[in-house]
Amino acid sequence: MTDANEATLHAYYDGELGWWAQRRFEAHLRRSPELRAELQAIRSLGSALRMAEESSLAHGPEPDLWPAIAAELPNTRTLGAMESDSAAGSWAGWFTWRPLATGALAVAMAAAFFALQPGSPAQPAGAGGPMTATVRYLDTGGRSVVLDGGEDFTIIWLTPGDAV
């Protein structure tokens, strides 16, 4: 019997097949004595298990074996945080320090990005704040000049007598 047939057989026994798949499988069952024998075996096993369960309950609850088993298992903490494979261990760590570290890294990168900008991120470089100018060098060829200005303008004005 193929794996696909075995899987379908178990699904049929568990009542998990849809209506159309169930009808097709039943037609297959009618044509295959081997498949019918397998189905009967599964049904017998199920009955035996149910009878065994009822019998054990009649004799009282079974002893809890887990404490003895757990005592024999290696301590997963001694394997180190990176090798902890229990679902609770690895995911508990994932939900604690790793997101915090990732978030801190993202914040640091954003801070570095804005700190490296030549100006405010919302404004072009050189803008923002009072507009002033700084005259670093001025050569008028010896002629007098008037300097004036305001927040957004600067005037360098050669005085009369400056004909060239």
């Binding site: 994932w94 990168m109 001025l138 005037i155």
Partner: protein, 155 residues
Amino acid sequence: MLTRQGSNRPGRWFAVLLALCACALPMLMAAPAGAQERVQIHLAVTRLSDEPGGIDPEAARLHKKLQKDYRYKSLQVVRSADLDLAIDEVGGLEMPGGKRVRVKPILIDKKGVLLSVDVEGSIKTDLRVKSDHLVIIGAERHGKGKMVISVEPHF
């Protein structure tokens, strides 16, 4: 039989994220610097005179700054140019009479742009100005008027 379940996927995922962030940081640093290395400059030569002629609309901002302290009856834009200059690139235009006015951005930083302005035969100056700051240079006479050079950087 007990078996090891799962793999260290969260740790591997975090390492990949960290590597991506490390690669992205240099790119974030580089992009803004590249975008700031050009300056757009509006350069104009305007004739200021006591002769009637009105105020050229193109010189409206210049007129607003000059009218309080300077007496004139007309303001006419003679030549103008919109320049797009890289650092250390020279741009300019020719004034009436054949002399030239030249501008060159020298440096851009948080304080503004350091501009070198050379009005041939009149003034040479280096100024650090912020974006959209109007620089007005009252230069040589021209007939009964005066040539005024205006420089407006934008970056």
